[in-house]
């Protein structure tokens, strides 16, 4: 009696035949490397992008619909044959797109570059990537926009943006912020974080890229990324609760209501939104009162004080759990070691 049933998606594009499912009942006694290091065995198992080498058959069988473990090629990339996808056509092309090498200033030193070890801690998470493509496979933005640079390549981009030896930080950020398929095309769905076998958390690296672009370099991109973040943050500082009616025009005006009315691109975007606004009003979802008048929270002075306190630090404090781990078991703080300070 076989131990496991595997339902495999078979496809040979050269055959002219459509893809089909084939079930194998197998008695498996062997084992795989379990190392999760070379990144060459990415597949979808029961719909989830992951490495085959460190997936336990028993656990996969428990999640299997109708008892058969479903194995498919990774998503968002063309299938070469059966479970093998064309990583060159998608993943590696996108990695090349972000200039994935160091661009230091001036002539190279006689010996190695000397940097403070502390300054490299921040990028160790993005350096852990093994290029298996699981995040690319799972990416929900790429599913509808194949031109999206995507999670793996953007995590790689942060590896160089965060590197103290690189001299083109601002240029890199400008490039990624202005690209309509760049950092502001990530829909914040956490799919890449969920599937990454190495805890790279690509979406978190994309958020770091955004933070660097907006807060450190004030890059006002043509995609309204800067405007949206600034509008959101400013509205909470002013009111405590979000005012959707003000968020939209402020986002298009780089965070300013006045700029939204004089910037031609903002006016165009706002005019395109008018039918949505009218439908909102007509359905009774939005009343003219909620659209025009937004009340402040009772203790709004407290919110403003918090903004002031936090934003008056010279260094921005960020706790990265990948680096510090969950230290609270010993009730000891290690905050300072894991902070990204920009």
């Amino acid at each position: 009696m076989p131990d496991y049933s595997l339902k495999i998606r078979r496809y040979n594009p050269e055959s002219g035949q459509p893809a089909y499912w084939q079930q194998f009942d197998v008695d498996l006694a062997g084992c795989s490397c379990q190392a999760a290091i070379c990144g060459s065995c990415g597949v979808r198992i029961n719909g989830m992008s992951r490495l085959a080498c460190n997936t336990k058959l028993g656990e996969a069988a428990e999640d299997a619909p109708n008892g058969a473990i479903v194995v498919e090629p990774m998503g968002n990339m063309p299938v070469l044959k059966d479970l093998i996808v064309d990583m060159d056509a998608v993943h590696w092309k996108k990695v090349q797109r972000v200039v994935p090498w160091l661009l230091p200033e001036g002539d190279p030193p006689d010996r190695e570059y000397i940097v403070d070890p502390e300054s490299m801690i921040d990028i160790t998470q993005s350096m852990a990537c093994i290029h298996c493509g699981a995040c690319v496979s799972a990416c929900l933005s790429m599913e509808v926009d194949p031109e999206f640079i995507g999670p793996a390549a953007l995590a790689k981009a942060y590896r160089f943006v965060g590197d103290p030896r690189d001299a083109f930080t601002e240029d890199r950020l400008l490039d990624l912020a202005e690209d309509p398929h760049g950092i502001y095309d990530c829909t914040h769905c956490f799919a890449c974080i969920e599937v990454c076998p190495k805890d790279v958390a690509p979406m978190n690296q994309i958020m770091r890229l955004r933070r660097r672009a907006t807060s450190d370099y004030g890059i006002k991109d043509g995609n309204n990324g800067y405007g949206h973040e600034k509008a959101f943050s400013d509205l909470i500082e002013k009111y405590g609760l979000l005012s959707e009616a003000q968020l939209l025009p402020k986002s298009y005006g780089d965070g300013s209501l006045i700029r939204a009315q004089v910037k031609p691109a903002a006016l165009k975007e706002l005019t395109a939104k008018l039918p949505t606004v009218i439908r909102g009003l007509r359905s009774g979802k939005v009343s003219p009162k909620t659209a025009l008048i937004h009340r402040k929270l009772k203790d709004q002075d407290q919110i403003r004080r918090m903004y002031k306190e936090v934003e008056s630090h010279e260094d921005r404090l960020e706790l990265n759990l990948y680096i510090v781990g969950d230290s609270d078991a010993e009730e000891e703080g290690t905050m300072a070691e894991g902070g990204q300070e920009g």
Binding site: T187, G225, F232, L242, T276, K285, M306, L317
Partner: protein, 300 residues
Amino acid sequence: MKLAYWPGCVSRGFTPELHGAMAAVAPKLGLELVELDRANCCGAGFISEHNQELADTLNARTFALAQGVDGAAGMVNICSTCQGAQSECQERLDADAAYRAHINEHLEPEGLEYERGGAWWNKNLLWLLVEEIGLDALRERVVRPLEGLRVGPFYGCYIVRPTRRLGYELYPDRDKYLEWVIEACGAAPVKYAGSHKCCGFPIVTTNRETSLRQAGRHMADALDAGADCVVTPCPLCHLNLDLQQPESQAFVERDLGIPVLHLPQLIGLALGLDFKELGLHRHVVKTDEVQAKVAALAAA
């Protein structure tokens, strides 16, 4: 059950029908809600994108206000995005004592303090229904089983990923609860490709095409699978799926017209509340057919 109640911004802004439906449903479920009217926006991921310490401070403040509600079993929210954004901050606050102490310093002038863990929790209504109220208790209260109504679940990313942050170790079936609740209401859950995917709302101002293509595709999938309507525990998803539906259908080049209910609206229908009280007239995609189906049940 007494609860600290965080309704979020959107339920009091562009989806007032959600706030009203929750107010109508709560007493029917035996819930006493103490609304946190001094609490602030969760940041929806954008404040933490801007400044993590600020987001953690703002949410620690909300948690501290909730922990100060006398006799409350915990805190309940009605928004997947609030749940996810707050869980993210809570994960950091709980992980590191020194960091927590630092954030609490910002709360001190207001006389507030966030205390870690213990028995305190913050749960979305969906989690509360299954884990605290219980599906059997819900079934007992159903006076109008929604027989024949085919409902597509739409979770919202923030409540399904990342599983490690969202308590799936303790509650591994949280990504199935919506189907369970639909069944407990007497309706039939519809399986379709988009149920656990992204509505696209977070990028509707930065990449409208990617955003509305996502929204349109999921609604088309739900329709093709035979759903009469979709239900979501997230008002932000609701905005992209309902308010934007007339726009999103252009991006998938077909007519859609599928109603998108808020979770308390679906429950309210099963609990026998009337359509108006649940705000079913306040949708962009008309809910008339759903109302007619439910009205026919009552008549039968």
